[in-house]
Each structure stands twice: as structure tokens, then as C-alpha cells.
Symmetry: C2
Subunit: 137 residues, 2 copies
């Protein structure tokens, strides 16, 4: 019995585990091609190997895509698979990203959408500014 398409502890396949590991240990967001380069010595050869793993990890809520950076981060919360609204604060100085959460904000946005006849499924919020460590003062 060959163990379920080679799945490791969390139910991830080998490629998914490697990509998730790269993002989990990274200081900041990584582009797909940065991940590819990191994993070349693990046998990765083509962008699709990365993108397919990324798609799966996103659908599981284990990682998120930063639309304004074309890059990816590991989720910083225990459970994001049920959440509809993500909030990311991107520091324009050091590049670090923090994932914020606020349920009332999520509701307010959904209500704003509804008032405008729009039925919201998901929502991506990306802030730019300065993090605590990079304050001008």
C-alpha cells in the first residue's frame, strides 16, 4: 500500500510540502520563481510544479496570495480556510507582511457590497505603509 500518493503528516504531497515549507520558513513573501529557485536541488524544474502546489495550498487556506506583489505568504493564523476577507499590511521599507483579522470589518465590507447590489464571495485587502519597526521616528 503506497501511502496515498506520498502524503506527509498534514495530508500534503511531497511537492506541496516542499512549497509550504519554503513559505513557512521565509522572512517575507516569496514569488513563485523565488520558490522554484529554492527548490531546484529538491528536484523542481518547472514553474508549473510550483504553481500547482500553490493553488492547492491556497484552496486549503494554508497560504495566501498577495495580489499587489505577485507573491505568496504562509498563513499567520491558525485557521483561514473559512475566512472570506484577508487583510495584509505590507511595509514599504522592510518588505515584511503582517496578516490582520477583523470580523466586523469583514461584515462591514460585505454590507457595503450588498448595498450596491453586489453579492460578495471573497475579498482581498492590501495596505501599504510603514510597520512598527520602520517608523520614520
Amino acid at each position: 500500500m503506497k501511502s496515498d500518493h506520498h502524503r506527509s503528516p498534514m495530508g500534503l504531497t511531497k511537492n506541496q510540502t516542499l512549497v509550504f515549507g519554503a513559505l513557512s520558513h521565509a522572512e517575507g513573501p516569496l514569488s513563485a520563481y523565488a520558490i522554484l529557485d529554492q527548490l531546484r536541488d529538491k528536484g523542481f524544474r518547472a514553474p508549473l510544479q510550483v504553481y500547482r502546489a500553490l493553488d492547492k495550498l491556497i484552496s486549503l487556506g494554508l497560504i495566501h496570495r498577495l495580489e499587489s506583489l505577485n507573491s505568496f505568504v504562509a498563513c499567520q493564523h491558525p485557521e483561514c480556510d473559512d475566512r472570506e476577507s484577508m487583510v495584509f499590511a505590507i511595509c514599504e521599507i522592510c518588505g515584511k507582511v503582517s496578516e490582520l483579522a477583523d470580523d466586523s470589518l469583514e461584515n462591514q465590507i460585505k454590507t457595503l457590497a450588498k448595498r450596491n447590489g453586489f453579492s460578495m464571495k471573497t475579498c482581498a485587502i492590501e495596505l501599504r505603509g510603514h510597520c512598527r519597526d520602520c517608523r520614520p521616528n
Copy 2:
């Protein structure tokens, strides 16, 4: 006196006027290359001619960039040059985009950021879902 680098009514140059016109008359968002193709018979030859005009128009608040679509829309409000938070509702069926506005939402996000030690400069919010015309029912 050669008229200020060939500027038209709004203070835009020829290229900026052409790009703004293409976005203003479009049904939905356009990619930079879609704009380039539309303007080939006006003398456009290279992506940089588009991207440079786009950069300027964005800095003037006349157009916005949709991060999750890698494309651009004309602003649907009279004045967006002072606004810090944009909200776009993107219909996943018909592709139409509406630009929403809510000052209290903007304040709430800024406050959420501040609570987390983040000093927010700008904010991009992009919703996915179904517009009024594309409701399943």
C-alpha cells in the same frame, strides 16, 4: 511657443490623453497590452508608451490599477486623488467592475492598522462575487 509639450484640455499629453480615452470608453478593465493594441493605429508601438501614461494617470487619480487582474479602469468618481482607500467590486461572471466608496470603512481600516502598529498610507480592496445583473436567481 509650442504649447507646453503638447498638452490637451485637462493638462494631459497626447499619449496620456489617448490612454485615458481608451479606459474611459471601455466597458470593463483593460490590460496594458489591450490598450496598446487599441492604440496601434494612433502610433503606439511599445508597452512603455502605455505604462508611462498609466503611471502618470494613476498618480493624478484619474485611473486605478486592479491588482488582482493586472489591469486598469478609469475612475468612476469625480475626485479620487485625495482618497487613500479604493474599493472595487469585480463580477466573476460578466467581468464588470464598480468602484465603491465608504469613508467610515476607510477609517476603520486605518484604525485596525494603527492598533497593530502599522502606519497606513494607501489601501487596495478588491471584492469578488456577482453583480446585480448576474445574480444566480
